[in-house]
């Protein structure tokens, strides 16, 4: 795939991630901090179809732009910390231990580490580690559920894209 095609595809992926990020903001949450993690779908797709560097780029650009459009500077901090940690975890699992993990497992791990990243920032901002402990159990249960469905969705998207004739890629 030539550079321009790749750039256009990444731009499309980022804009889709951005839209998912914003739509997510409209969905009411049952408890503070619990989100569906829809934007993670696009991160996972990029990770599998393009590679780690590209996925990290998608996460960073999506977090920064998404926070500028919907939230505050603090929201950007949370979003970046969660996204980057989650991307690192998923990249590590996918490129080192692919044989042992399905896409669902990788997605769930990403969701869990997204929460850990956000909670670490929250603990730092509020100056107490207590937040981490109080929210960790609830958020981890939520992550196990949302991570499963995000993984399922990503799997279908990746399968679909790989079957398309117009979608020629240089990486497996």
């Amino acid at each position: 795939m030539n550079r321009v095609r790749k750039m256009v595809m990444l731009a499309l992926i980022i804009s889709q991630a951005l839209v998912l990020h914003l739509i997510e903001g409209f969905i009411p949450v049952v408890a503070p901090g619990i989100k569906l993690g829809l934007a993670n779908i696009m991160t996972l797709v990029t990770l599998v179809l393009y590679g780690f560097k590209e996925a990290l780029m998608v996460v960073v650009v999506r977090s920064v732009l998404g926070s500028l459009l919907s939230g505050s500077v603090t929201a950007m901090l949370y979003s970046l910390a969660g996204g980057i940690l989650s991307c690192l975890a998923m990249g590590w699992l996918y490129f080192r231990w692919r044989a042992y993990f399905s896409i669902i497992g990788i997605s769930t791990a990403g969701a869990i580490f997204h929460n850990i990243g956000q909670l670490l920032v929250a603990s730092w901002v509020f100056g107490t580690i207590g937040i981490l402990f109080t929210y960790l159990p609830m958020l981890t249960v939520a992550a196990a559920g949302t991570g499963f469905f995000v993984g399922l969705t990503s799997g279908y998207i990746i399968k679909y894209l790989r079957e398309q004739k117009w979608f020629k890629w240089e990486r497996g």
Binding site: S102, G105, A109, G127, T134, T140, A144
Partner: protein
Amino acid sequence: MKMPMKIGDLAVYLFAVVLIAIGLMGVYAMGTQGGGKSVVVELDGREVYSCRIYKGMAPVEFRVDAGNGKYNVVSVTYEGVKVKEANCPDQVCVKSASIRYAGQAIVCLPHRVVVRITAGHEETPDVDDIAS
């Protein structure tokens, strides 16, 4: 399409269970280390009111006078702390959900009032100077 679960996925869910256990143990450890929680009200960065929160406490309600007739009425119960009433223009503090965990805070920017819950009775750390 087949997306079979693999052995590593089990490890991920096991990791989740471990994390939940760590969280619950952490909460338990903090709950038993004594000290408990207090609610602290700051006006313009100065502490103007503080009160301990403990099980079985009688509900407390007090009025924070922010000068020039500006006021916030804060209600404190064991179940949560909230701003019950205020005459600030945006009413963000009144609409905020009640808080109950250490580290949470309700901020009224127009009146420069911060209601926060702290762990124990030590002085609040120097971070989040939101109101000043």
